[in-house]
């Protein structure tokens, strides 16, 4: 599916002295089968923005379109199934006695039969590399394991777009690597992924396109190279290194992911 936000504005607590305009006219498209990275500092509106993608928040003005159709006219439960939203620190919403029961919550809300529910639960846990956790209590797991279980709980709805808000915050480097590999795996299976992060280095590794937010507005949107080489002072480490070298050696090009940058540097040395 193609999800489009058109000039979305959102105001918290309108008409009170505590009014805050979190989004000031954001237009953005999530294309089918892409990984879209959303970056920006604290308070730039990232988390508010993603809650518009499944209409947990309704825009104060502007539109959300699903394949060109106004999303407010769709059934909310159907929209939320198709756009799976994983909140920041999703493990704080684990509640059931076992991981399996917890992951089964969403598919059961879809009124699937028990056989289908079980199938989806095991599949999602397997995708997350958490198959062996099924029978354990979610409260007895490590931080990384909890995170896996919580994401599986959304994946079990088989969404067409998976929105991940800071999925790697507070995780160890190995689990982070796993999650980035998972994002690429999902994309290869045809699922679009929206990755919200303030860690530019991880966005550099997986994003097909990047959207930079600042104070509720889109600062830049495009391929990682387009966005990050605009202002290398606010770019991943790879881009900062490459753009410095570019001053004397323009043939290095515009690499963004770590592997590509390494290759470009090797080519430079060989030449």
């Amino acid at each position: 599916m193609r999800l489009e936000l058109r000039d979305v504005r959102y105001v918290y607590a309108p008409g009170t002295p505590f009014e805050v305009e979190a989004l000031r006219g954001v237009s953005l498209v999530v294309e089918p089968g892409e990984v879209l990275g959303i970056v920006g500092g604290t308070g730039s509106g990232k988390s508010t923005l993603v809650q518009h993608m499944n209409l947990l928040l309704t825009p104060t003005s502007g539109e959300v379109l699903v394949d060109g159709v106004d999303a407010t006219t769709l059934k909310k439960s159907e929209l939320r199934r198709r756009v799976g939203l994983v909140f920041q620190f999703p493990e704080s919403a684990l509640f059931a006695a076992t991981v399996e029961e917890d992951v089964a919550f969403a598919p059961r809300q879809l009124a699937l039969d028990e056989k289908e529910v079980r199938e989806r639960v095991l599949e999602s846990l397997r995708v997350l590399g958490a198959g062996e956790l099924a029978a354990r209590s979610p409260f007895a797991l490590s931080g990384g394991e909890k995170r896996r279980a919580a994401i599986a709980g959304v994946l079990a709805m088989r969404p067409e777009i998976l929105v991940l808000d800071e999925p790697t915050a507070g995780l160890d480097p190995a689990t982070r690597e796993d999650f980035l590999a998972l994002i690429l795996g999902l994309r290869n299976a045809g699922i679009s992924v929206v990755l919200v992060s303030h860690d530019l280095d991880e966005v550099a590794e997986v994003a097909d396109r990047v959207c930079a937010l600042q104070e509720g507005r889109v600062l830049a949107v495009g391929t990682p190279a387009e966005v990050f080489y605009r202002d290398p002072s606010q770019a991943p480490a790879t881009v900062r290194v490459a753009s410095l070298l570019r001053e004397s050696k323009p043939e290095i090009g515009a690499p963004v992911p770590f592997g590509e940058t390494l290759d470009a540097l090797r080519a430079l040395r060989g030449a």
Binding site: Y12, A13, T16, F18, V20, Q51, N54, L56, S77, R80, R81, G84, L85, V86, F87, P90, S92, A93, L94, F95, A96, F105, A106, Q109, L110, F139, G153, V154, M157
Partner: protein, 262 residues
Amino acid sequence: MASRSLGQFYPVASPVHDLDPRAKILATAVFVVGLFLIDSTVGLLSVAAALVALVAVSRIPAGTFLLLLRPVLFIVALTVLFQVLFSREGVTLVEWGFFEVRSGGLSLGFFLALRILLLVSSAGLLTSTTAPVALADGIEDLLSPLKRVRFPAHEVAMMMTIALRFIPTLGEEAEKIKGAQAARGADFSEGGPLRRARSLVPVLVPLTVGAFRRADELAEAMESRGYRGGEGRTRYRELRFRKRDALALVLTALVLLVGVLL
């Protein structure tokens, strides 16, 4: 986003804010008892006039202060309605079938409404002019004579402070968890009361787990800063009962006395 809860501390500088919290707590207690000793509408009105003057002195905007009364308006309306419908005293003002409005019911309804509004306003004035920490300090001091009979005055005051402090935090947390479960297809508005209560389980369980975790963290944070309970603990801000605090108490008593006599 946290919204202002009712009767929340309104931080401005005013003579009322400046009073010793103990004086304010005592004055409020005296005021509340006094309200029940006043048996005339004129008496209540005179006390109300004094309270209005006090609110003006406290520099809390009238609109903000009146918001405080919104939750009790329903009870007030109900009280007046019942008095008007069921009172059989005084002269009949309106008669319409077996429904009649008598002057006695109307004036009694007004009297009771005024009493409820004054009760809530006085408590609201206390909490909106006294910082929660000062309030807890004041309560601790007022309860401290009970320490002799092993009443844990400091601990009770500390628990109150912490409870107040964490209401908005837990509210925010609940909103987040509700959002996360809604994203997984939970619906909190459909079905009968039983189904709706059941749909809250996925919110209440993580909220409770989170509250226990927070409590543990808070206890550790307090201990790591050397907190060991009230024994021998000194305060950064010492409470001082000054002349003006005594004056405030005497004035409160005077206003109420006038109210009782009228």
